[in-house]
Symmetry: C2
Subunit: 130 residues, 2 copies
DNA sequence: GCTTGACCTTCCCATGATGGGAAGGTGTAG
DNA sequence: CTACACCTTCCCATCATGGGAAGGTCAAGC
């Protein structure tokens, strides 16, 4: 399987597969005589793991830790759980920050006439002198 | 006022003030004979505007649009409002995405023993074969 | 007047994850 | 044998921010 097919099968773009290899997240695959990367099913499985971890918001570095745990048959599930819960806390913190911004802005917008006149509490607030 | 004092007064770092100038978000300030940037109160006011817009999650580009509206005495508040509400929608979308990740992960973690044994539904899910 | 230290200048580099694209080699179907 | 799809590496761009080097400036204290 060439990189294009591995990309198709895993949902990770060829560009990103090369990048993950370059930064050491995944092992360099075999090469054909002409230098093409050659992937087998286990490689694709790993790539899918990476894609799913990324789609849950784990950074590439965290994904590396998860990958190491995944491959470690003597892992303690407690380690996985604590990594996951720490990440959940970060996600919720970020979500809360975004929602606070949205709420503030929505409130300001609700007091804005939204017509041809220039007066606008949104700009008043952002440009407040204090 | 030198750049350090403007940074202090506005809450925008000296590095970022130079950057905002370089990309054209703010006007280049006056210079002293020796080449130091010299800021007056209106410049600081603008910088505070930028800092607040950024802290509400507006991109630098959006901040530029807001700044132009802020300075345009013949603006229509409708334009400001629609910019703000579009941004609110984006913020809420991102927040929802983060919360969905958190919820998924929290659910998986709640089914994880979190002990010395290796079995873990979190890894099972991320590494699912399908 | 001179030194010292805090400030300023520009310039280059790094981040994190992703994509675009160029230049050149390979493989295969017609 | 040609055309086209694919592969390779390499460089560049994004977005907003910070770090740091090399060198110039200013003010306070001796």
């Amino acid at each position: 399987m060439n990189i294009g097919q591995a990309a198709e099968a895993s949902g990770v773009s060829a560009k990103m597969i090369r990048y993950y290899e370059q930064i050491g997240l995944i092992e360099p695959p075999a090469r054909s005589q002409s230098g093409y990367r050659v992937y087998a099913e286990p490689n694709v499985h790993t790539l899918r793991f990476v894609r799913r971890a990324r789609s849950l918001g784990f950074s590439v570095e965290e994904t590396g830790s998860l990958l190491a745990l995944w491959r470690d048959r003597s892992r303690a599930s407690a380690d996985v759980k604590s990594l996951a819960l720490k990440h959940v806390a970060e996600l919720e913190e970020k979500a809360a920050a975004l929602q606070a911004m949205a709420a503030t802005l929505r409130h300001l917008a609700s007091n804005c006439h939204g017509d041809q006149r220039p007066d606008c509490p949104i700009l008043d607030k952002i440009g407040a002198r204090n």
